[in-house]
């Protein structure tokens, strides 16, 4: 739980000096349609919680970097902002950890050109180390009309800014309409709670993309990046309570880091990783359901299922195009049916991505994001906890982690008995159980000796790949049915037949592989029992 002004070091009460804290900015960003922002400005809610009148200022910011974007690659952004007659140079870092905090240093300057040696803080200086001031050039500009209010809410003071304006490069200009909620004092959960109150007034989206990131993207004409498989930063001896917060924060971060790429659709990895993040989230909530039963937890599971479901078709058509159409096309490059099939699948893919964008713009998505953020910052699972639950929460995670992996492993073994004779839907159950085991293992892996966990993880991956192929085939058949059911195009039907035949042949070839991987998996020793690292 982040607190802006630490009252006292929590970790080691009475234990030595607190390390000097680097300047931190804790901020939640919400975007909305300009007309909705205008409506929100006049809402009673803001009048009730504002501590005074709002002030409006014009802000012009120049963003600087080297031609090869050395600052950006270090995770830093540098801007000089004109506020009336004043100039302020600001250096910011990427997010620190999985919360809303980032490092921020500000210093007054005489003019709009950057002065790197104006920063005194050693951390800021280290970030800029070796970057020659003369190599910096002005990359893009933001021009913002900012209306600022100070809001007082229970347990926090928040600066609320309504930003309307543009981000400009030499060639292009992009509109900005967003709200920034910056924590001045109090607890981070209050930002999310405030976000939820604003969401009751107008449709909003939680925006993960800073103005600087948008500018860089415009300059480089690069699609948003995809963030893969983040390792959960669990540490042996951490309490169950902290482990829940750490895992959920990491799932939320994994989701939000891929949201822009999912929306963009240029890289199939975006939707894929966002779905993985949501499945991991659901899986984490399911794992801890028994430890901390809570109605909010159940609601979060349902809502993340809805969101993952909305991303499903886009992912299915991405896989269909990449894993089915592509290989067949390279086998039969001039087949006219395959070209028709590809075109039809691409239209479906477009529709899938339209559904993704609709879901991400749906206030339901923002509500899920904000509710999860609030719940995990506040450690909402402690609500209505009994003494037995609270006691379980302060135990070290290690024991529970081993039990949870063991449980997931036993379930796989039970469902997969006599795998060779199982029906497709029974195999599907085994595949789901394997996924649960995978996620439990991914979450808790840092607690165990890597030497023992690694071979297990590798074999689990091989088995999952073998199962995944079966699933791709089953999904492809369903998708083909959708493509052909209302079409009289004989070329399309012919291509569909081709794909079915290709898959049937492939399925026959992979069956021995699946059974071999299963036997190898059953033979490998558990890493979660026995000596610890």
């Amino acid at each position: 739980m982040s607190i802006v002004q630490p009252r006292r070091p929590n970790e080691q009460p009475g234990g030595g000096e607190e390390p000097p804290q680097a300047p931190v900015e804790i901020e939640l960003k919400l975007s909305a349609a300009p007309e909705d922002l205008a409506r929100l400005r006049g809402a009673d809610l803001l009048g009730r919680i504002s501590t005074g009148p709002s002030t409006t200022r014009s802000l012009t910011s120049f963003y600087y970097d080297t031609p090869d974007c050395a600052l950006q690659r270090r995770g830093a952004t540098l801007r000089v902002r004109r506020i009336g007659q004043r100039f302020v140079q600001t250096l910011k870092t990427e997010r620190r950890g999985d919360g809303l905090a980032r490092g921020e240093w500000e210093v007054a300057l005489p003019a709009m050109s950057p002065a790197l040696d104006a920063f005194d803080d050693p951390e800021a200086r280290a970030l800029l180390e070796g970057i020659p001031a003369e190599a910096l050039s002005h990359l893009f500009t933001s021009r913002i009309q900012r209306e600022t209010r100070i809001l007082a809410v229970p347990d926090a003071v928040v600066e609320c800014a309504f930003d309307i304006g543009t981000i400009e490069t030499r060639e292009a200009s992009d509109p900005v309409a967003e709200i920034e909620l910056e924590l001045k004092e109090g607890r981070t959960a209050a930002l999310y709670r405030l976000g939820l109150s604003l969401l009751d007034e107008i449709p909003l989206r939680v925006s993960e993309v800073t103005k600087a990131e948008r500018g860089y993207r415009m300059v480089a004409r690069r699609p948003p990046g995809v963030v893969y498989d983040p390792k959960t930063p669990l540490v042996s001896g951490m309490t169950v309570d902290e482990a829940i917060a750490t895992i959920l924060a990491r799932c939320l971060r994994h989701w939000t880091a891929n949201e822009a790429a999912a929306e963009d659709g240029g890289d199939p990895g975006g939707v894929h990783q966002m779905r993985v993040a949501l499945r991991r989230l659901r899986s984490a909530l399911a794992l801890f359901k028994k430890t901390v039963p809570s109605p909010t937890l159940d609601w979060l599971r349902d809502e993340s299922k809805w969101l993952a479901g909305a991303l499903g078709p886009a992912r299915d058509w991405d896989v269909f195009l990449g894993a089915t159409v592509e290989p067949i096309d390279s086998l039969r490059p001039d087949d006219p049916g395959i070209a028709v099939l590809r075109a039809a699948a691409q239209r479906q893919r477009e529709a899938g991505y339209a559904a993704v964008r609709a879901a991400l713009a749906d206030p339901r998505c923002a509500r899920l994001h904000l509710t999860l953020g609030e719940w995990l910052e506040r450690r909402g699972w402690r609500d209505h906890a009994s003494t037995a639950t609270l006691t379980a929460l302060v135990e070290p995670i290690d024991g529970l982690a081993g039990r949870m992996i063991g449980q997931a492993h036993r379930k796989v073994a039970r469902l997969g008995r006599h795998l060779g004779q199982l029906e497709p839907d029974q195999r599907h159950q085994v595949r789901i159980a394997l996924k649960r085991l995978r996620y439990a293992m991914d979450f808790f892996r840092p607690l165990f000796a890597e030497k023992r966990a690694k071979p297990f993880a590798a074999q689990l991956s091989r088995l999952q790949d073998a199962f995944g192929h079966l699933n791709d085939v089953a999904t492809a058949e369903a998708l083909l049915l959708r493509l052909t059911s209302d079409s009289t195009d004989t070329a399309l039907h012919r291509a569909a037949g081709l794909v079915l035949g290709w898959h049937a042949r492939g399925g026959e070839a992979t069956e021995p592989e699946l059974l071999a991987q299963w036997d190898a998996f059953r033979a490998i020793k558990p890493f979660w029992t026995g000596p610890r690292n």
Partner: protein
């Protein structure tokens, strides 16, 4: 976080009653409260295990065999220390504590042991900084008895005074049997008994602010 260490080298002076009552008082105020039991006999932990679901929840920690690890962002920590403690353990626990509570009984009262314990506490650095941090609690007191007056005189001689006088009442044992304390009970009698604790709770709040 405010942490409270309940300790005395003498056994049977009601450490567990003080620790569990304080923990339930904090939990009832809505604080995330941790009750750490250093005693191998686990009387505090057993009390927490008996605690019904409806009562304000607190977390029980077994510190008898484990390292003294405090959960992050706990708001109140109550440590129930056993009578037999090695000096090294006492030192480690003292480092954690904002307030040290020394329960003493007016009867069967071992002046020499208390004098020695107080002297040892004062040798240790964190205490020297603020003497106010040691709170002496007279447990199972009957007011206006000769024993009570004797206790006051003795502690006055040592430069300490009794912060709270906790009356002797069967309500304590009855509530404890159900994993509760006088802070969880309703009625005039419990309300009356809670008044004994008010000076101590005030003292803890003030000492931790200082």
């Amino acid at each position: 976080m405010i942490s409270v260490l309940v300790a005395n080298t003498k056994g049977g002076c009601g450490k567990t009653t003080i620790a569990t009552t304080l923990a339930s008082a904090f939990a009832g105020q809505g604080h995330f409260t941790v009750l750490a039991d250093v005693d191998r006999q686990h009387s505090s932990l057993d009390w927490a295990k008996r605690r019904p679901d409806g009562a304000p929840a607190l977390a029980g920690l077994d510190w008898a065999k484990e390292e003294f690890a405090v959960p992050k962002d706990a708001e109140r920590l109550v440590i129930d220390a056993p009578a037999a403690l090695k000096m090294k353990q006492v030192e480690a626990l003292l480092k954690l504590a904002d307030v040290i509570i020394l329960p003493v009984l007016p009867s069967a009262f071992d002046e020499e042991a208390t004098r020695r314990f107080l002297a040892r506490l004062e040798e240790l650095k964190p205490i020297r900084k603020s003497r106010a941090a040691v709170a002496i609690v007279g447990n199972r007191m009957r007011t206006r008895t000769r024993a009570a007056a004797q206790l006051d005189a003795f502690l006055g001689g040592l430069g300490h005074k009794v912060v709270s006088r906790i009356r002797d009442s069967t309500a304590y044992t009855e509530a404890a049997a159900d994993g509760l304390s006088v802070f969880d009970l309703r009625g005039r009698r419990a309300e009356d008994l809670r008044e004994d604790w008010a000076p101590l709770l005030r003292h803890i709040a003030e000492a931790s602010e200082a």
